[in-house]
Symmetry: D2
Subunit: 344 residues, 4 copies
C-alpha cells in the first residue's frame, strides 16, 4: 500500500483528497495536517466523515515523514520549501497549489508576486495534466497539479488548437464555476444570501489562471497563444462549465473537427466526448473525475464553440491529483477513480 499524506487537509481540496483516497484500493492515508486545526480530527471540521475518518491533524513535518507521496493543498507560496524537502528525501510531492505550474518565472512574479527559490527544482518538476502531457509525468518527483479552470479550458480546446483548426487570436473562455472553487474561508461573496439567486463575473480578464491556460494552449499550438478569460460564480457547490470560442480557419468543416476530437480523445477514459445532440452539463459529472466535452460550429459566424464540464474538486483538483499519483506509481490511471457520477 502506498502511504499518502495530505498537507492542508481541512481545506476543500484537502478534504476531497481524504474522501477519494479513503476509497483507493492501493493507497492508505498515513497522516494529514492542517495549520488551522492541528490537534483536531478531520471529522470535527467535516462531520460528514464522522466515524469513517477521524484522523487527527498533525503538523506538516509528520506528514512528510510518514508518507511516500505528499499532497499539498495550500495557498500559493507555501509549497516550494515543502517540495524541496520531499525532493531531498526522495519522496513524491504533488502540489495542488500554483507554485510549480508556471514555467516562466516572470509569469509567476507578475500574477502571484513571488519568485522561484530553487530554479532547478522547478525545471525538474512537471505540469501534470495527464490527457495532454502524460508522457512527461512518469519518473518525476515534483508534480504540479493543474488548477480547475486550467483543466477545463484546455481540455475543451486542445484538439482544435493542436490540429490547427482555429485562429489563435481572439480565443475566449467564458467560464462558470461552483462556489467550492472559492474555498472554505468565509467571504461576503460566498455568504449564502449574497450568492444565492445571484450570478456575476469576477476578476474579469484578470484571473491568475490566465497565464497557466495560455501556457498549455501555447504548448498545444507550438506558438504563443493569448486568450480572454472571464470567470463567473455559480450558486451551486461544484463544477465548472467552460464555454470556449475560437474563430474557425477558412475551409475548416464541422466534420473535420468532430473527427479530430474523436481521434484526440479516443483513449482517454476521463474525457467523454459527447455525440451531437448532447451538451456538456455540470449536472452529469458532479462527484466524478470525468470531463464532458461537447462541440459546435456556428457557420453563420465561422465560430467554433467547445464546452467542457468538470467537477472542480475532482478533475479540477483532488481527483486529478490522484490520477497523477496513479501515473507516478505505475498504477492503472483509473484506480480509485472509477465512481460513476450520480444521476441527480
Amino acid at each position: 500500500m502506498i502511504k499518502a499524506g495530505i498537507i492542508g487537509a481541512t481545506g476543500y481540496a484537502g478534504a476531497e483528497l481524504v474522501r477519494i483516497l479513503s476509497g483507493h484500493p492501493e493507497c492508505e492515508i498515513a497522516a494529514i495536517s492542517s495549520v488551522s486545526f492541528e490537534g483536531k480530527a478531520i471529522s470535527e471540521v467535516y462531520p460528514a466523515y464522522y466515524g469513517l475518518n477521524d484522523m487527527v491533524c498533525e503538523d506538516a513535518d509528520s506528514v512528510v515523514e510518514k508518507s511516500d507521496v505528499i499532497f499539498a493543498a495550500l495557498p500559493h507560496g507555501l509549497s516550494q520549501e515543502l517540495a524541496q524537502r520531499c525532493f531531498d528525501l526522495g519522496k513524491i510531492f504533488i502540489d495542488l497549489g500554483a507554485d510549480f505550474r508556471l514555467e516562466n518565472e516572470d509569469d509567476y512574479k507578475q500574477w502571484y508576486g513571488g519568485s522561484y527559490v530553487n530554479k532547478e527544482l522547478h525545471q525538474n518538476s512537471v505540469y501534470a495534466l495527464p490527457e495532454l502531457f502524460r508522457k512527461n509525468i512518469a519518473g518525476k518527483k515534483t508534480i504540479a497539479n493543474p488548477g480547475c479552470y486550467t483543466t477545463g479550458v484546455p481540455l475543451a480546446l486542445a484538439p482544435a488548437i493542436a490540429g490547427g483548426f482555429v485562429e489563435l487570436k481572439g480565443i475566449i473562455a467564458d467560464c462558470k464555476s461552483g462556489v467550492t472553487g472559492s474555498g472554505r474561508g468565509l467571504t461576503q461573496g460566498t455568504h449564502y444570501p449574497d450568492l444565492n439567486e445571484g450570478f456575476h463575473a469576477y476578476k474579469v480578464a484578470a484571473h491568475r489562471h490566465t497565464p497557466e491556460i495560455e501556457q498549455t494552449l501555447s504548448h498545444l499550438a507550438g506558438q504563443k497563444v493569448k486568450l480572454t478569460f472571464v470567470p463567473h460564480l455559480l450558486p451551486i457547490n461544484r463544477g465548472i462549465l467552460s464555454t470556449c470560442y475560437a474563430r474557425l480557419k477558412p475551409g475548416v468543416t464541422k466534420e473535420q473537427l468532430r473527427k479530430a476530437y474523436e481521434e484526440f480523445y479516443k483513449d482517454e477514459y476521463f474525457v467523454r466526448l459527447l455525440p451531437e445532440g448532447m451538451t456538456a452539463d455540470i449536472h452529469n459529472i458532479k462527484y466524478s473525475n470525468f470531463c464532458d466535452v461537447s462541440i459546435y460550429t456556428d457557420e453563420r459566424t465561422s465560430t467554433f464553440i467547445a464546452i467542457s464540464a468538470i467537477d472542480n474538486m475532482v478533475k479540477g483538483a483532488a481527483g486529478q491529483a490522484v490520477q497523477n499519483m496513479n501515473i507516478v506509481f505505475g498504477l492503472d490511471e483509473k484506480c480509485g477513480l472509477e465512481f460513476i457520477p450520480p444521476a441527480f
Copy 2:
C-alpha cells in the same frame, strides 16, 4: 385610469404583468384571460395572489372589449390576429411575443416558421426597446415588446457599437438565464432535480433570439451585424447575465469607452452604468426594471467586455411592457416601476 387587459395571464410573463399592474397608480386591470385556466381565478394558479387579486380568467374577446390597452403574453404565432383586431378597434396592443419583433419577414419564416398575415400592420408596428428606440414608440398602436436576451445583449453593447469603438465581426454574447425564462410549462429540463446543482448551454448558436439581437445591433451600427449567441440555463428563478465580447478597434481606449457609455446612458433611469470596481450581478436587479451594465477592456488581447444584468421577467418582459405602455399613454416612463430591487 387606463384600463389594461392581459391575454395569457397565467403564463409567467402574464402573471408578472398582473403583479406589476396591480401596483400601477394610473392603470387598473380590466380583465384577464387564459386558455388553460378559463373560468378559474388567477390566485388559484398563483396562490401568492390569494385575496389580493382573485380575478377570474375570461376569454380573449372579453379582454379586448374591456380594455384600452391589451397586453398579450402568448406563444409566437397567436398575436397577429389579435393585434389586427385591436388595431381596427383603435386600441393599443402590446405584444410580449415574437410576432412583431422582426422587421424582415424572411427572418421570421426562418427562425419561427410563420409568415406575416398583414404586412401593413407590421410596418405600422414598432420594436419598442425604449432606451434605444424611444422616439419611434409614441403614437404607435402595435407595440412589439422585446424579448429577454434581446434586451440584455443590446443594452450591454449599444454604446460601443453605436460609437464605432469595436469591430462588428466576431461579436460574442454568452448569456445565462434564470429558469423562469423557460416558462411555466413542465419540461424534464426544468424539473427541479434535473436542473438543481447543474448548469449547461442550450440551443448553442441556434436560439431564436439571434436574429432579433442582430436586428438591433445592425440598427445601432448602421450596417448588418452578426453575432454568436450562446444561452445557458442557471439554477435560479430570475435574471439574465449577458457577457458580451467584441474586438476593440485599433487605438480605442478604455477611457473613450467609459465616456461613451456615460454619455449614452446619462438620462436613462433604468440603465445603471456601474463605476469601475462594481460588476453587474443578477443579485442586484431581481424584481426590478433596472439593467445594470459594467464594462471592461482586456488590453492583453484588445477585447472589450460588456456585462449586463436584467430581471428577465421585468426589464426582459412585463416591466418593459409597462414602460412601453407609459410611453404610449404619455405617462412618466417610470410610473409604477420605481421599485427598488431587494438587497437579498
Copy 3:
C-alpha cells in the same frame, strides 16, 4: 412627511427597512447609521440600491436628531440607552431587537444575560404584534417589534389557544427559517457550500425566542403556557414556515376551529387564512408583509396542526416595524406595505 431614521441600517433588517421606507408614501428616510460602515453609502454595502438610495451612514446621534421615528436594528443589549434618549426627546423608538420584548426581566436575564436599566421605560413600552395586541400600541413611544419566529408561531396558534380549543401542555413548534434570519455576519454555517443542499435543526429547545413565544401564548391563554420550540435552517434566503402541533381538547371539531380562525382573522389584512386545500408556503409570501395560515386536524391522533408562513425580513422584521409605525402615527396600517408577493 414623517422623518424616519434607521440605526443599524447595514444589517439585513436595517437594509430591508431602507427598501420598504423608500416606497412609503407618508414617510421619508431622514438619516441612517451603521457602526461598521460609518461614512460609507448604503449602496456600497448593498449595490442593489446603487443610484436609488446612496445615503451615507452617519452615527446614531445624527439619526436620533434628524428623525421623528427611530428604528433600531441592533444586536440585543444596545437599544436601552437609545430608547431612553428617544423617550426623553419625545421621539418614537421602534426596536427591532430583543431589549424590550420580554415583560419579565428574569426571562431577559436568563436567555439574554442582561438586565433592565430603567424599569419604568420597560413598563411604558409595548410589545407590538399588531394582530394580537393592536389596542396597546397607539400612544406608546417605545415599541418592541417582535422577532421572526415569535411572529409566525403565535399567528399560527392564536385563535386555537385564545378560543380554548387545544391543550396548553405539549404544544410543539417545529420551525424552518430562511438564512437571512442569521444576519449578514459571516459564519461557517452560512457559508454557501456548507448550507446548500443541507438541512438541520439548531439550538434545539434552546432558542432565545422561546420565552417570547411563551409570553404571547400565555397572554392569549390567560395562563402560563410552555412550548417545545425547534428551529431549523433552510437553504433559501427568506421566509419562515412554522408547523405547530397541539392536542385537541375532547370534543372539539374541525369545523369549530375553522370558524374560530375565520372569526379571529376576519379583519386582518395581513393574515391570509387559507381555505381547505391550500397550504401555507414560503413561496407565496416572499417579499411581502403577509402571514399565510393553514389549519388541519388529525382525527386519528386528536392533534391540531397549524402552519404559518411569513417573510422573516418583512412581517418578521422590517415590514412589521413599518406596520407599527403606521399605527403609532395614525396612518392606514397597510400604508406602504401593500406590495403583492411575486408569484415566483
Copy 4:
C-alpha cells in the same frame, strides 16, 4: 458474481440502483427494464452514465429471466404479480415499492386502495429494515424494502420506544424531504421556479407512509402506536430530516436515553449516533447509506426530541435495497456501500 436485474430502472430509485450496483464488487447488473424507455439506453435517460453504463432497457420478463435477484422500483400495485413469478422461479425479489410493506391488508386497502392477491406470498415476505428486523430477513425470497420516511422516523425513535422511555400517545414526526422523493415524473410542484426558494408541508397527517411507520413503531413498543406525521418538501435534491417528538415518561433522564441509544446502535455501521453538540444534518449523509441520529431532551416541557438524517435515495431506497441483498446472499452487509459521504 450475483446477477442483479432492475425493473423500473429509469425511475430515480432504479437509476440509483444502477449507480450503486455498478460499484458493487460481488454483483453485476444482468439486465434492466423500463416501460417508458424500453429499447433505449439508460444513459440516454441519465446522461451522467454516458459511456459508463449504456445498458439498454428491456422488458420485465427478460430481467426476471437473466437475474438471480430482481429489484423492482415500481409504483405500488405492480409488484405482486412479479413477486409471485420470482418466487415460483426461486429467485430473490426485492421490492422498493409498497406492495409488501404492510402486514395488515386492511391498511393497504385503506391507504393504497388495493388488495393482496396471494396472502401466502405476503406472509412469506419480510419487512426488511435491517437495523430493526435483521434476523427476519435471511432465508426470505420476497423482501419488502422500506420507504424513505419509514426508514428515517423509526431509526430516530427506535431505542426510545423499545426501551419504554417515552409515552406512546402524542408522538409527532415532522419530516422534511428533498425533492427526488417525488420521483422523476413532472409535476407543477416540482417545476423548478415553483419549488425553488419555497417550502411547504404536503399531505398533512394524510401521507401513505403513516401506517407503515406505525407498524414499525408498534413492533418496537409491543403494542399499537399511532403518530402524527407531517411531511414537507425541501428545495434540495436529496435527503430527509425527521424531527421526532415524544413525551418523556416521568423520571426518565437524558443520561438514560443516551445510554439506551448507544447500546441499541453500538453494532450498527450505518447508524451514526452523534455525540452531544453535533446535530443530524442532511448535508453530512448525502450520497451515502448512513443514518445520522442526534437526540435531545427538553426538560422544560418533558419532551424527547430525536432527529435523523438519511439520503432518501440511498438509505431510504436503493442503498438499503442493496444492504438487504447483501444480507440475503450472506455477504458482508456493507459490501458495495462503504462510500464516505462527500463533505460538500
